[in-house]
């Protein structure tokens, strides 16, 4: 897979006010855009009848990519939720694999067509698969962190979910357990304003999720989830602290779900168009591009070149993936048990 980075070499020195280098900023833009364009193509494939089900992360790319870039792929663990394509891209997933996943192809590295699309899981990359019952992965994250602590392995586990999931018991049980044992878990909540059709005020009486942390004795902070740079800057110290044995941390990234819940949802039944338009004006990818252009980090033609490369990568991946083999009926019975 080619990278936009091939254009010209980028500095690895952190830029003041950003705390990220040119190279990292390019990476951030590339991953956010790749996530969005992949999701757009997946929805198009759904409408064409080629992909049965699509659930996307549009509007949350800055939160996802910014948070995941604060981790160490290959070392740290990710217990993500179904909107986190951006995080998976940071952890090594490429466009072709994302397309294999949405089509349920046999070579999908997440589940080989057994698991539902967007229920990521890749042992080699330290990404754990999950149930569709939300928030269950918070407990798995606490368990992974407990295991790491027992083995004195300095890894950090990031568990993510939307704000709706924080009403489930597993979320509360995980926060409680992780704090009792000071486990290296970052609870990263992507508050996108909606739990399918229900606004946040129907999910909780508190003004947000971060203050729920206090009840369990861990720190909770709010960050602007439409700003990938701010997300990185908030998550990075929490990750460093957790790695040094400082215990868990909750970070609530305030963002917005720009699209309906899934390919099966019609959000006009519950969401005012005006609200949507207001948030669309704050699209995190657009804001990022405007900022780095305005600050003179990248010239416009470089950003255009990244966009062109992403478009080509997505087009190629979609065409390629559709030609790949499906699992055979006789494959259905394998892997129920690990033998031996």
């Amino acid at each position: 897979m080619t990278s936009a980075r091939a254009n010209r070499s980028r500095s690895k020195q952190p830029i003041e006010d950003y705390l990220l280098s040119e190279e990292q900023l390019e990476e951030m833009y590339y991953r956010m855009l790749l996530s969005r364009r992949l999701n757009e193509r997946m929805i198009a494939m759904n409408r064409q009848g080629r992909a049965a089900f699509v659930i996307a992360g549009a509007g949350q790319e800055a939160a996802q990519v910014g948070a995941a870039m604060a981790l160490q792929p290959g070392v740290d663990y990710l217990a993500p939720y179904y909107r986190d394509l951006g995080m998976n891209l940071v952890f090594g997933m490429n466009a072709r694999e994302a397309m294999l996943n949405v089509l349920g192809k046999i070579d999908d590295p997440n589940g080989g067509g057994r698991q539902m699309p967007s229920h990521w899981g890749n042992r080699e990359r330290h990404i754990v698969s999950q149930s569709s019952v939300v928030a269950t992965q918070f407990l798995h994250a606490a368990g992974i962190a407990l295991g790491a602590k027992l083995r004195q392995d300095p890894v950090v586990v990031m568990a993510t979910c939307g704000e709706g999931s924080t009403s489930r018991g597993d979320f509360h049980e995980a926060l409680n357990f992780a704090t009792i044992h000071r486990l290296p878990v970052i609870f990263f909540i992507e508050n996108n304003g909606y739990a399918i059709s229900e606004r946040t005020d129907k999910e909780m009486a508190t003004a947000g999720v971060a203050q729920r942390a206090r009840g369990y004795g861990l720190r909770g902070i709010v960050v602007d989830g439409m700003d990938g740079i701010a997300v990185y800057q908030a998550v990075r110290p929490a990750v460093d602290q957790a790695r040094r044995g400082g215990g868990p941390f909750l970070i609530e990234a305030r963002c917005y779900r720009l699209w309906p819940h899934s390919s099966d949802d019609d959000d006009t039944r519950y969401r005012p168009r005006k609200e949507l338009e207001e948030w669309a004006a704050k699209d995190p990818i657009k804001l990022f591009r405007e900022r780095v252009e305005r600050d003179g980090i990248f010239p416009r033609e470089d950003l255009d070149a990244i966009e062109a490369r992403v478009d080509e990568e997505v087009r190629e991946a979609a065409a390629w993936a559709q030609q790949q083999p499906d699992p055979k009926p006789e494959d259905a019975l394998g892997f129920v048990y690990k033998e031996g």
């Binding site: 057994r114 899981g121 698969s129 407990l146 597993d170 995980a174 357990f177 033998e339």
Partner: protein, 324 residues
């Protein structure tokens, strides 16, 4: 061989396995200083320390979920749930994650987790402590379901569970925790999964049980002997994997089968056994398969009521006599 109560045999298994494999650690409510609700983990905190014997908050889904995570990360956790009735709170984690992650991840992710829980009536602890739901867990592909009837099997099967790559639901009948039996001392002693045990040979009728109900079956066989009826008693030991081979061979010899279980008859595991006997040995049967089960009520508290709700050896004898 040493004579041990089942709870002590279970503790021996935990000790030996924790010594053998440093990845094993224990999670559960009151398993530390208290020693576990049924005293199975007594003394293990002192021997192995807090790192490996962890008291948890009262949060069943949480305990199991954390165990799943630790197992995925390469450890060998054991989770103790106070009773099978309380395991309902963790059912989502057990069924949707522990049982399915290996399949859903295309064989990438393993959950080698041991979940122990107490079941069964007779204590008496009434309707929200005492049910026998081995069959519920046996319904789910991806789980091992183990239910020993005696001290030696309890030790050998629990040790076997720690050597498996899948999640094992290990169900202990509360009425037999104190029953003594001869237990091998060899630290390498294990009882394989999927191997039923013929506890008593006979030629006239096959009585199949598991967990606590094996004892009703054995007592019934003794009573039947006085009537000149030789009953073969089979202890299934594990419901998943299930050793139907031993059951079918026995039924082909005796031509009659009675299933004994504490579980409710309606939709219970006995129905599965009965169906498989019909499918595989219909032509050898001289009578329809009979099921002796718990009554179709929540478990009552008062002794008289509880006895009435549970199957007895007399019920088994009656079922056998009715088919002779």
């Amino acid at each position: 061989m040493t004579e041990l109560r089942m709870r002590d045999a279970l503790r021996e298994a935990l000790r030996e396995e924790m010594i053998r494999d440093s990845r094993i650690f224990l999670l559960g409510e009151d398993i530390g200083a208290y020693g576990g609700s049924y005293a199975v983990t007594k003394g293990l905190l002192e021997e192995f320390g807090e790192e490996r014997v962890k008291d948890t908050p009262i949060a069943e889904s949480g305990i199991v979920g954390v165990g799943i995570g630790a197992a995925m990360a390469g450890l060998r956790p054991m989770v103790e749930l106070m009773t099978i009735n309380f395991s309902f709170l963790a059912l989502e984690q057990i069924v949707n994650s522990a049982a399915k992650l290996h399949y859903m991840s295309n064989g990438q992710i393993r959950v080698p987790l041991v979940i122990r829980m107490a079941s069964g009536g007779g204590s008496p602890l009434a309707a929200t402590h005492s049910h026998s739901l081995e069959g519920l867990y046996a319904h789910f592909p991806g789980l091992n379901v183990v239910c020993p009837s005696n001290a030696a099997d309890a030790k050998g099967l629990l040790k076997r569970a720690f050597r498996d790559e899948n999640t094992t639901i290990f169900i202990e009948h509360t009425a037999i925790y104190g029953v003594k039996g001869e237990v091998p001392d060899d630290p390498d002693f294990v009882v394989e999964f999927g191997k039923a045990n013929i506890l008593r040979a006979g030629s006239d009728v096959t009585i199949v049980g598991y967990s606590g109900s094996v004892h009703q079956a054995l007592r019934a066989a003794t009573l039947l002997e006085q009537d000149g009826i030789e009953a073969e008693v089979i202890d299934l030991r594990t419901l998943r994997p299930l050793d139907m081979g031993t059951v079918i061979a026995s039924v082909k010899k005796t031509n009659r089968a009675v299933i004994v279980e504490d579980d409710w008859k309606f939709g219970g595991f006995g129905g599965e056994l009965s169906a498989q006997i019909m499918e595989q040995a219909f032509d050898w049967l001289d009578a329809p398969v009979a099921r002796v089960s718990g009554k179709d009520v929540p478990m009552p508290y008062n002794r008289n009521l509880e006895f009435a709700a549970l199957p007895s050896e007399e019920d088994v004898v009656e079922a056998v006599l009715a088919m002779m």
